[in-house]
C-alpha cells in the first residue's frame, strides 16, 4: 500500500497557482524527500495532505484513505511538523507537548520524555522565551511522541544546530527502521542525499521527477572538465559552462561519441569525464533549464 498517493492533485488560490496536476506516490516504509525552490508548492502539497487546505481538483489518499472525506481517520496516524514552529506563546514547552498528546487522547509521557532528553529540550521554558531551534524541538516532539505511522515534516531542520540535526535524523532513521514512513521537504540537498531513499522534485507547482536517489544520480549526464584550452568545444546538449582557473567544466548529456570526437581535436592537457554529484543534478532541477536535464 502507498503511504501517500496523489492523483492529479491541483490547488489554486483564487487565480494564483499552488500545485498543478500532481501525481505523487510514496510507499509505506519509505524515507522520502520532497524538494524544490521556494514557492514551488511543497508546503501547499503538504498542507493539502494534512487537510488544512482543500484541493481544487484531484484526489489524494493516505494509507488508502481519502484526505478530504476520511481526514479524521487519517490524522491519528500522522505526525506533522509545520515549517513554522508556532505555538501558544504563554504556554510552557511541556504543556504544549502534553496538550498535543491529550488532543490525541494518548498518554505519550514516556516517549515525550525520551525525545526531550535526546533533543536537549528544556520543557519548563515558555514558548515565548524559546529560540526558533528550540521551538522546532517542541514541534519534533509533538510530531513523534505518539509514534505515528507516517511523519510529514515540512523543512524540519531549519534553525536546528548541527548536533541536534544529526540526533533528529538518527531518531528518524530509527523510526524508519521500525516501519514508519518519513516524508520530508527540505532545502538542504545534502540531507536528502544522505538520508532519503526516494525523492521528488517540484517546481512551479508541477512534479518534475520522482525516483530513487540512485536513479536520480544516474541521469546519463556527464560532467566534463578539460584543461589546456581557452574555450570549450561547440557542442549541442551542453550547459552550465564554467571557467575555474585554467579548467573549463560543463555538463553534457548528448552521445559520448560526439563528445569524444570533439575533444580529440583539442590540444588538451587534461580531461576528466565523471558523473555529476547529486547536488548538481538537483540544482539543475531548481533552475529554469532543469526540465530538459534528463
Amino acid at each position: 500500500m502507498h503511504a501517500i498517493k496523489t492523483v492529479s492533485l491541483t490547488k489554486y488560490y483564487g487565480q494564483s497557482r499552488g500545485i498543478i496536476d500532481l501525481n505523487l506516490s510514496v510507499d509505506e516504509g519509505d524515507f522520502f524527500g520532497f524538494i524544490g525552490p521556494n514557492g514551488a508548492g511543497k508546503s501547499t502539497t503538504i498542507r493539502t495532505l494534512m487537510g488544512l487546505i482543500a484541493p481544487s481538483s484531484g484526489t489524494a489518499e493516505i494509507f488508502g484513505l481519502d484526505i478530504v472525506k476520511q481526514k479524521q481517520e487519517i490524522l491519528p496516524s500522522i505526525g506533522y511538523m509545520p515549517s513554522e514552529a508556532s505555538f501558544y506563546r504563554n504556554m510552557r514547552a511541556g504543556e504544549i507537548i502534553r496538550l498535543s498528546a491529550s488532543l490525541r487522547h494518548k498518554n505519550c509521557r514516556r516517549e515525550a520524555k525520551r525525545l526531550c532528553r535526546r533533543l536537549a529540550l528544556d520543557t519548563e521554558k515558555k514558548i515565548g522565551e524559546l529560540s526558533l531551534g528550540n521551538r522546532k524541538k517542541v514541534s519534533i516532539v509533538c510530531a513523534l511522541q505518539h509514534k505515528p505511522a507516517l511523519c510529514v515534516l515540512d523543512e524540519p531542520t531549519s534553525g536546528l544546530d548541527p548536533l541536534i540535526q544529526r540526533e533528529f535524523y538518527a531518531i528518524l532513521e530509527e523510526r524508519n527502521a521500525e516501519g514508519t514512513t518519513i516524508f520530508l521537504s527540505s532545502h538542504v540537498l545534502s540531507e536528502i542525499e544522505r538520508y532519503c531513499r526516494h525523492a521528488a522534485v517540484i517546481r512551479q507547482g508541477k512534479l518534475l521527477i520522482s525516483d530513487s536517489l540512485e536513479n536520480l544520480g544516474h541521469t546519463g549526464t556527464k560532467k566534463v572538465t578539460i584543461r589546456g584550452v581557452d574555450a570549450p568545444p561547440a557542442l549541442e546538449h551542453m550547459k552550465d559552462i564554467r571557467k575555474n582557473g585554467d579548467a573549463i567544466s560543463f555538463l553534457y548529456n548528448g552521445t559520448p561519441d560526439v563528445l569524444l570526437k570533439a575533444l580529440a581535436y583539442l590540444p588538451l592537457t587534461d580531461v576528466d569525464i565523471s558523473e555529476p554529484d547529486l547536488e548538481e543534478v538537483f540544482m539543475h532541477y531548481y533552475s529554469e533549464e532543469g526540465k530538459d536535464f534528463t
Binding site: Y13, L52, L75, Y88
Partner: protein, 261 residues
C-alpha cells in the same frame, strides 16, 4: 473538554482584567449613589428639560431619585458598553487568533474536527461572558446591600438578562466575522461594539432613526424601557436572536470549509 479548558486558560488573564475592571466600576457607581441621591432629585428635572441630549442616553424617562433609575443608566453604560466591548473582543479573536498566531496549523492537524474546534471555542466565549456577568451580579448585589437600597429584584434581573443577551449577540456576530478573517480583527470587533452603541443613541435622538433599534442590541437593553415596561422589548430582541444565530451559523459554515494558509 480539552479544547474548552485550553480556551479558558488562554483567555484567563483577559477575563480577569475585564471582569475586575467592570465589577469595580459597577461597585463604584453604586457606592456613589447615596451621595448623589440628595442632589439627584432636582437633577432629574434638569435632565428632563435637556431634551435631545438626555433622550439620547435614555435619561429623559428615568427618575434619578430612585435607585433603579440611576442604576439603569449607570449599569447600561458600564456593564452594557463595557460588556459589549469585552464580548466583541472575545468573539472576534476566538477563531482568528489561531491563524494570526500561526497556531492553527498545530491545532487543526490533530485529530479534532473543525466543527468541534468551533463548538468548543464558542462555548468558551459564552462561558467567559457568563463568568463576567456572574461576577458583576455578585458585586452589584453586595454593593446594593451595603448602601442599604432595596430595588425591585425582578427589574434588576431583567436588566442583567438584557445585558447578558446583548453581550452574547455581540460576541456571536463577531464570532461569525472571526471565521472569515485570519488577522487580529481587534479593530473590527471594538468598532462593531461602538457602532452598536452609537446606533442606539441615534435611534434615541430622532424618531426617523428608530428602526436602528432593530439592528443594535442596545435597542433592547435600554434601561429606561426595561424599567418602564418591566420586561425586554420582544420585537427588538427577536431580531437580535436571529442575528446571534446567523453569526454562529456563519462561523460553523465558513470555518469548517476555509483554507488555513
Amino acid at each position: 473538554m480539552i479544547l474548552f479548558k485550553h480556551e479558558l486558560r488562554q483567555g484567563r488573564n483577559t477575563l480577569l482584567i475585564w471582569s475586575g475592571v467592570i465589577a469595580f466600576m459597577l461597585g463604584i457607581c453604586i457606592f456613589i449613589y447615596p451621595e448623589m441621591k440628595d442632589q439627584m432629585g432636582d437633577i432629574s428635572g434638569v435632565f428632563a428639560d435637556m431634551g435631545g441630549f438626555s433622550a439620547a442616553f435614555g435619561m429623559d424617562q428615568l427618575n434619578f431619585g430612585e435607585f433603579i433609575g440611576f442604576f439603569g443608566v449607570e449599569c447600561g453604560n458600564v456593564l452594557g458598553l463595557g460588556g459589549a466591548f469585552f464580548a466583541a473582543l472575545l468573539g472576534i479573536s476566538a477563531l482568528a487568533k489561531e491563524e494570526k498566531e500561526q497556531t492553527a496549523e498545530f491545532l487543526l492537524t490533530h485529530p479534532v474536527t473543525r466543527e468541534k474546534v468551533v463548538l468548543h471555542k464558542l462555548c468558551a466565549v459564552l462561558a467567559q461572558i457568563a463568568i463576567l456577568n456572574l461576577l458583576a451580579i455578585c458585586i452589584t448585589a453586595v454593593s446594593i446591600l451595603m448602601i442599604k437600597e432595596s430595588p425591585e429584584a425582578k427589574t434588576l434581573a431583567w436588566l442583567f438578562l438584557a445585558y447578558f443577551i446583548l453581550q452574547i449577540e455581540t460576541a456571536s456576530i463577531c464570532f461569525g466575522i472571526s471565521a472569515f478573517i485570519s488577522q487580529g480583527g481587534l479593530g473590527i470587533g471594538l468598532g462593531m461594539a461602538a457602532l452598536f452603541y452609537f446606533l442606539n443613541i441615534i435611534a434615541n435622538l430622532t424618531e426617523q432613526a428608530e428602526f436602528l433599534k432593530y439592528i443594535t442590541p442596545f435597542g433592547y437593553t435600554e434601561g429606561a424601557d426595561i424599567i418602564a415596561k418591566g420586561s425586554i422589548d420582544v420585537k427588538y430582541l427577536s431580531v437580535g436572536l436571529v442575528l446571534t444565530a446567523v453569526g454562529i451559523a456563519a462561523a460553523f459554515y465558513w470555518y469548517c470549509r476555509k483554507d488555513i494558509v
